[in-house]
């Protein structure tokens, strides 16, 4: 079943915690070069699915393949960049510059007892540039706004040149008016740098037209297909997944936002 076009393949995955199924019968595949958004309400098992994919916890049933390799044998962690939701709640008084934070993304790739080389410093500056933060190189991370910090954490994930970038609730803590430029930056990473993106969010309204695929999760996988197909879903079907009324985005939504800014 190993297929090199798929960066992630999840099959018949079950995860139980305290006798309760958190995830049931999950099937998910992420194609190289795509931009997938996993949406689901709070408590739908999104974060658990991410933890499983990162190998932080083990499923009771089912398989996960990363880059065609079973996760238990996967050792190329540097191919996956991860921007955690907790990035917003780190110790803001921590005395580290933007450069130091981004450099820490190379820790695993460099390996034990190795120091930063000139070429690594170039890479770090490039990563900071690719998220538009080059002016803030020597600023302490705590002095930046939530959106700027989020960009720094993306740069930290990018510095080890990952092929897959995973973002957990990346727009939490980003000002509404900056969400659009944030998605534009992600689109550039996706289209120009060829990085496969996986974004997880509870807020269906933040899914932008930059996303190519959508998966709806609530313990089960309710929908997994292209963004175009997703938008053709009837609103009540989506409500069913969420269990309450939701405002589904349309492209109008974005035009509307654009008119304001």
């Amino acid at each position: 079943m190993a297929n090199n076009d798929y960066i992630v393949q999840v099959q018949d995955l079950f995860y139980r915690y305290d006798k309760e199924n958190v995830l049931e019968n999950i099937n998910l595949s992420i194609q190289k070069g795509s931009f997938l958004a996993i949406v689901g309400p709070n408590g739908s098992g999104k974060s658990t699915l991410l933890k499983l994919m990162l190998g932080l916890i083990k499923p009771q049933k089912g398989t996960i393949r990363l880059f065609g390799q079973d996760i238990s044998k996967f050792r190329d962690q540097h191919k996956i960049g991860f921007v955690s939701q907790k990035a917003n709640s780190f110790n803001t008084g921590f005395p580290a510059t933007v450069f130091e934070v981004v450099a820490s993304g190379l820790t695993k790739k460099l390996g034990l007892f190795k120091f930063l080389k000139k070429s690594d410093q170039v890479k770090i500056k490039q990563a900071i540039g690719s998220v538009g933060m080059e002016k803030f190189l020597d600023r302490n991370i705590g002095e930046l706004s939530g959106g700027q910090q989020q960009r720094v954490f993306i740069a930290r994930a990018l510095v080890s040149s990952p092929e897959l970038l995973i973002l957990d609730e990346p727009t939490v803590g980003v000002d509404a008016q900056n969400v659009n430029s944030f998605y534009e930056m992600l689109e550039t990473l996706n289209k120009q740098n060829g990085i496969t993106l996986l974004l997880v969010t509870h807020d269906i309204g933040t899914i932008s037209d930059k996303v190519t695929n959508v998966a709806c999760l609530n313990k089960n996988m309710h929908f997994h297909g292209s963004t175009v197909e997703f938008e053709q879903l009837k609103i009540n079907e989506v409500s069913e997944i969420y269990g309450h009324d939701v405002h589904v985005l349309t492209h109008d939504h974005h035009h509307h936002e654009g008119a304001h800014s």
Binding site: F82, F90, N91, P95, A96, T107, L112
Partner: protein
């Protein structure tokens, strides 16, 4: 003072040891403070007291132990205590800070029992509690030097891993850093440095030499490396200035060292306030 330094071996021992711990205590202190583990240093220093008392007791009761340097047993207890803290932290997953009062009171309790059993010591226990300019031996100096070189080498070699673990533990784990092993190495280094520093600043004030210089430098330093640099600078000023005052005023060095560190801290806070007021 200079002539005293040339003349007396005990002064040379005290000043050389002071210079060494002025580097390593704030160096590890930076990691301790940013990881919010300041109280662990306190707990471990009290366990070290139990080890010192145990060693002095053995020395008094059994001739066989008469040559034993209390520093070794202090270190053994400190390392043992650090392992016990880690164990307790996994037992009380949701009340991790409970490990600190448990170890701290256990350490004092044990220390008090050993002291009472010995019915008082010939050796000045006071010097272990508050530090001493005259009590540092050549063996102490050599032991402390070896430990310090080991600690500095480890911190330099594992710098990026320790930084990542301190800044973002979850991310460190997610990227496949052996966080548990690293934390284990770290906590043992802390235990060793506490035992090593105790000769000069005293058990009761060891943790302040690890935290006060860091608290001052964190006020204005840009970045982590600069924080380390200023912490060590402030640590050195405190230790050397404190030893100097201690020698001339015949005071316990623990007190003079810590008071200088407090003074630096106050100046740093004042300086920062003035600087930010100006920028507005």
């Amino acid at each position: 003072m200079i002539s005293g330094l040339m003349q007396y071996e005990f002064l040379q021992n005290a000043f050389l040891t002071g210079m060494i711990i002025g580097v390593i205590a704030p160096l590890l202190g930076v990691f301790i403070v940013v990881r919010r583990l300041s109280l662990i240093a306190d707990a471990l220093s009290h366990v070290t007291l139990a080890g010192i008392a145990a060693s002095l007791l053995l020395e008094k009761k059994f001739l066989f132990f008469s040559g034993l340097n209390p520093l070794y047993m202090g270190m053994a207890f400190s390392v043992g205590g650090s392992l016990f803290i880690e164990k307790l932290r996994t037992v009380y997953k949701h009340y991790q800070e409970l490990a600190i009062p448990i170890i701290l009171s256990g350490g004092i309790g044990l220390g008090v029992i050993f002291i009472s059993l010995a019915d008082g010591f010939n050796t000045d226990l006071f010097s272990y509690l508050f530090g001493s300019v005259s009590a540092v031996s050549r063996t102490d100096l050599w032991t402390i030097l070896v430990i310090s070189l080991l600690v500095i080498a480890l911190v330099v070699m594992l710098y990026k891993e320790l930084f990542l673990l301190s800044f973002d533990e979850e991310y460190a784990r997610a990227t496949g850093i052996a966080a548990k092993t690293l934390h284990f190495i770290f906590i043992i280094m802390v235990a060793l440095v506490i035992a090593a520093s105790m000769r000069i600043v005293g058990i009761l004030l060891v943790s302040s030499l690890m935290t006060l210089p860091v608290a001052a430098s964190i006020r204005f330093a840009k970045g982590f490396k600069q924080t380390i640099f200023f912490s060590i600078l402030f640590g050195e000023i405190s230790v050397l200035g404190g030893l100097f005052l201690s020698y001339y005023l015949d005071l316990a060095p623990g007190g003079t060292i810590v008071l200088i560190a407090v003074l630096i801290l106050v100046l740093a806070i004042w300086f920062k306030k003035r600087a930010s007021a100006r920028s507005i």
